[in-house]
Amino acid sequence: MTAQDTSHAGAPLDLASPAAAPPAKEIRRLPVRKDWPLGFIIAIQVGILVVAVALWQAGADHGWIDGFFWSKPSDVYATLIKFFAGGDAWTDIEYTFGSTILGFFLGTAAGSLFGLSFWWSRNYAAVAQPYMICFHSLPKLALAPLVILIFGLGLASKVAIATALTIIVSALTTYAGVKALDADQERLFYSLGASRMQVFRKLVVPYCLPWIISVLRVNIGLALTGAIVGEFIASQHGLGRAILYAGNTYDIALVWVAALVLSTLAVLMYAAVSWLEHILRKGIKQ
């Protein structure tokens, strides 16, 4: 007991004595991260926007930037009012929204089914694999002019491009889910005397659902891109066409207006899909 006490007491003394002093170790502490209150963050966000718009307006008014190419917030606002008063706005929004949503659902549904189908046959999956990868790496937008020729100038061609962009992402992601399926889990089902169809419906589909859901948010963005590109190439309606037309006629304020409406639409659809994802995930858990 006493011996132990002395050794304990001795240890720090030894360290302190100059002869045995090890090189002084730098004292480090855990970095402190402090979160700003939410209101403060929002205030900064709004502030940046206000300052940027004000600078833009001032710059155009004082000739620091060329108002013809850059336009200015006051003109953009006036054009925005005119755009919605003129009546074209809602047709364009509806058109772009319609082709995006159709492409999104078609592409996601077909792609997911395609990915799930690979579970049924490994041989079929092996045959399809190189084609999938090829189609995935191919810049599909490069084929857009061809799609317009085949599907015409109307909505169908925009839906087709949006579908082409989304289908492959869904298929590959769902296939990743199929491949991640635990072989023991399948063996359990078969040991219980399950049929292939039962394994598919009761195991494969529910197992892959989180994978399918995880691409929804990516796909809504891709579908919108596809729809806009389709409208860029040839269209009579849509926000993409409005942007292209405004650019060609040097109506820069209208370009900004269409872009603004487009981003609002994109944010709304993204929010809706996030909400859908949330609902679906909750559904899976129950």
């Binding site: 635990d182 023991d184 889990q185 063996r187 359990l188 089902f189 078969y190 040991s191 219980l192 005397g193 399950a194 039962q198 009761k202 195991l203 529910p206 659902l209 899976i284 858990k285």
Partner: protein, 267 residues
């Protein structure tokens, strides 16, 4: 004479063997194994890794076609047919998107029992066998022991006379494991199933079983059948009795001999 014995056995393996083709030639995973287990027995297979325990299970469950030999259940050739035995792996394999109750009825569901009827049957069993209050929870809310209970009840409710349990308690801590052993013996007593149990734990094998089959590797084979003539119900203290320890020593010796000869063969 043989025919009579065969008829009496619930589960009979007749010269069942398994070999795989490898680049170095055929590899014998399982040398011909013959064994007969009467109705209502609890038997254990022990042996080192690679002795073919899981291969036997997969063959009996119909998940693997044996290279040779036949499997008989109730005297009927059941080789390569699925859905005749309850098979439980070390992993619980509970479906995370289903509640405990809906996981437990999976076997009945696969057999075409309407979900409602299956639930009605399973519910009292869940409550009687220690899962009361967990029925409508999802598996991720359960402890390891509770998950194994659910997995075992799923196997039990599959309504086959034979249950194959592949190291069901292998991943549990000692305390939980001993609870689960008592619980399993209670289930076995209540339902009069024929149980084939695989474990690495010699004491567990002896404590639970009527007979212990000792296996060896290279090739996987049965080397000895050791009866456990200890009366049931058994108290935990029986594991310290002279009789129990003698059986345990015999098993240990057989296993270490098998291990030594495997090493010599490899050298």
């Amino acid at each position: 004479m043989i025919a009579i014995m065969a008829a009496a056995a619930k589960l009979r393996l007749d010269q069942v063997s398994m070999s795989f083709d490898t680049p170095a030639g055929p590899f014998a995973a399982l040398a011909p194994v013959t064994l007969a287990i009467p109705q209502g027995r609890f038997i254990s297979l022990i042996g080192p890794s690679g002795c073919g325990k899981s291969t036997i299970f997969n063959i009996v469950a119909g998940l693997l076609q044996p290279s040779g030999g036949r499997v008989f259940i109730d005297g009927v050739d059941a080789t390569g047919t699925i859905g005749r035995v309850g098979y439980m792996l070390q992993k619980d394999l509970l479906l995370p998107w289903r509640t405990v109750l809906d996981n437990v009825v999976l076997g009945m569901e696969m057999q075409g029992v309407p979900l409602k009827a299956a639930r009605e049957r399973a519910l009292p069993l869940l409550r009687r066998y220690g899962l009361s209050g967990f029925e409508y929870l999802h598996p991720n809310a359960l402890s390891g022991g509770m998950r194994q209970r659910a997995a075992l009840l799923r196997t039990l409710l599959f309504d086959t006379d034979i249950m194959l349990l592949d190291e069901p308690f292998g991943a549990l801590d000692a305390q939980t494991k001993s609870h689960m052993q008592e619980w399993l013996l209670q289930l076995w007593g209540d339902f009069e199933k024929t149980v084939v149990f695989v474990t690495h734990d010699v004491e567990e094998a002896i404590y639970l079983s009527d007979q212990v089959y000792v296996m060896a590797t290279r090739p996987g084979r049965l080397i000895e059948t050791i009866p456990v003539p200890i009366e049931r119900p058994r108290q935990r203290a029986v594991t310290l009795s002279r009789e129990f320890l003698a059986i345990k020593e015999r098993c240990m010796n057989l296993l270490s001999e098998a291990h030594k000869s495997a090493l010599e063969q490899a050298a």
